[in-house]
């Protein structure tokens, strides 16, 4: 009798563990912050977005914020990263700590000379693939103008972005864009093409009042 009970318990445990899945319903968000030149002045907006994302993410979700600078394909450029605990109270605590780290970074950030967006994207793909959440989102807070230092190879690298959703946020217009708006549209078209060629989806969200759109499934 005892053996039968043990067998039944084991079978039920196996069945439940086979049925239970934590990753497919979770969401992974990786946010790239452009810290080049004058864009550092826009970081207060980035903070708003980070706070918004923090408020929306649920226990079990992952979130990382990384900076875009001269060479961004590096884990060292990740400012803060977290996978929220299953317990809501613990997750709230983690969110508070995360916000403090971001505040600390924004307070002491120094502008970089170049903008390696591709490197940042590659790092984002690597990070999110490792976490393998159900939904992968990369937020890019940048003017999307890539400026690479001499010797950095990025152009020929194809992006592997199957299942990724890339959202460009607050893509501000440069002075040159005002002179020739085609530059702006060409820039966005270029990134769209690269992301979609890699199998991902591309969106631009400039109106920060509509951040809710980020979390509409």
């Amino acid at each position: 009798m005892k053996r039968v009970f043990l067998l039944l318990t084991a079978a039920a445990t196996l069945l439940l563990s086979a049925c239970s899945d934590e990753t497919t319903h979770s969401r992974g968000v990786y946010m790239l912050l452009d810290t080049s030149g004058t864009y550092t002045k826009e970081l207060d907006k980035a903070q708003q977005i980070i706070n918004f994302v923090l408020a929306k993410l649920q226990p079990g979700d992952s979130f990382a914020v990384a900076r875009i600078k001269t060479g961004s394909f590096s884990e060292k450029d990740i400012i803060a990263r977290v996978t929220f605990d299953g317990q809501p109270s613990r997750a709230n605590l983690q969110k508070r700590q995360f916000r403090e780290e971001i505040d600390k970074f924004v307070a002491g950030v120094k502008p970089s000379a170049y903008t390696d967006i591709t490197g940042g994207l590659l790092q984002a793909v690597e990070y999110l693939d490792e976490k393998s959440p159900g939904r992968k989102t990369v937020l890019i807070f940048s003017d999307m103008k890539e400026e690479l230092a001499a010797g950095y190879v990025r152009e020929a690298i194809p992006l592997q972005m199957q299942g990724f959703e890339v959202v460009a946020l607050n893509v501000s217009k440069l002075r040159s864009d005002n002179i020739d708006p085609r530059e702006y549209t060409d820039r966005l078209a270029y990134w769209r093409q690269r992301v979609e060629a890699g199998g991902g989806t591309w969106r631009v969200l400039n109106d920060l009042e509509r951040l809710e759109a980020l979390f509409i499934d």
């Binding site: 439940l16 239970s20 934590e22 319903h25 706070n51 079990g60 317990q87 809501p88 508070r96 916000r99």
Partner: protein, 481 residues
Amino acid sequence: MSFADIFLLVPASPLLSGLIWLVVAVGLLYLARPAAHLAIAAASRLLHHACKLAARSVMLAEQRLKQRNNEVLLAAGREAAERIIEREFERIDASVRRDLAEYPALQRQMSEAITRLEQDYHDSSEVPPEPPAWAKVVDAVAKIAPKEPVVGEILQDIHDSMVRAQRAAIEQYRNDNSKRHRILSRMMPLWRRVAQVLGEMDKRVNRLLERSTAIDRHMTSYEDILNRSPRAERMLSSSSLTQFFIAGFVLAIAIGGAVINFHLIARPMQEMVGGSSYIMGYKAANIAALVIILVEVAMGLFLMESLRITRLFPVIAALDDRLRVRMIWVAFAFLLALASIESGLAFMREKLSQDDASLVASLVGQGEAGAVAANLWITTAAQMGMGFILPFALVFVAIPLESFIHSSRTVLGLLAQGLLQLLAFLLRLTGNVFRHGGNMLIRLYDLLIFLPLWLEERLRARGKPAEMAVTDDAVATEGRS
């Protein structure tokens, strides 16, 4: 070769080709007319009979279902009537035990009261005063010669003595009367007591009579059910439908309560089982909350079953009384524990909500304290109260659930019966459509070849007089010969 090549018999004129095809087709149809008529009629007859047969089978199935429904209905009604009669007998038993158990005491009280009354009655009887002995003496003295002076004196003495005795006797008589009145007045409460006891007994007996009248009424219904009278079937059917809708309505209310209960505990459950695990696509916390509610409902069912209020599980009803009472306590203990857990979870929910509100407030720059509302304890207490009460409220789901299950058997049966009747009607209708459709197709066929038919009729009409003349000649020849 395309269709156009086949169709265009005269390459230059599609109209002429069409006409040729029409003539050919009409000619072919005319030639095939008798066979086509037979085929159409046979097909329509076949389909008509098939539909009729199917309709009959469906009606037979409907009859069987109706019989089965009646069986179910009567069985359910019999069970319900038996239960009611059983309860009535239990009540009578309790009443007899309670009221008539005191009957010997009442009888003793009555006998005592009556004995005392009898005693008092004897005590109060009037004793006639004895006639004074002086009367005889007076008679004797009166017979002595009247001129004797001594006699006068004696008589005067006797007179005085008699007056005195008379006074004493009157006094004695008054005293005795007064005593009797006192005794009689003492009898009054005893009479009242006797009247009261008799009234009480009358009331109790009347109560028993009322119960017996109710039992008579229930027994009549029960006999009706046993005799399968149409009246009983009608009453049971209508009662079953009413029960179904009432029970459904109460169950809907209970489901509303369960949903509220679920929302109270689903969020804090994440603290226990984690908010990020899923089981078969559903959050584990939600499933855990649902399981708790279902366990509460199950415990409620066991409690109601053990209390013999519902009879969904015959095994529990048949349990030994001691075991049943133990089961009542166990189910109640589980419910109490679950209610306490829910109350705690409701408290946790409020704390989590506060924490969330505080976090969001800090994220939007209002500061941690900005979100804490005043009088928050009221909602916390209300949620905790609801968390504690709702499990007990869910216990009573067992009663409408039992009614719903029992009545749904009848209602589903009636519904299936109605569907079968509808199906039989549709099959009969289809059969008739096939039969009359066959006739209509034959007419349409003739309409398509009306020209050759008309010509045939004309030719026949022309040939008829000649035929008739030949026939007349033959008759005349036969007559002559």
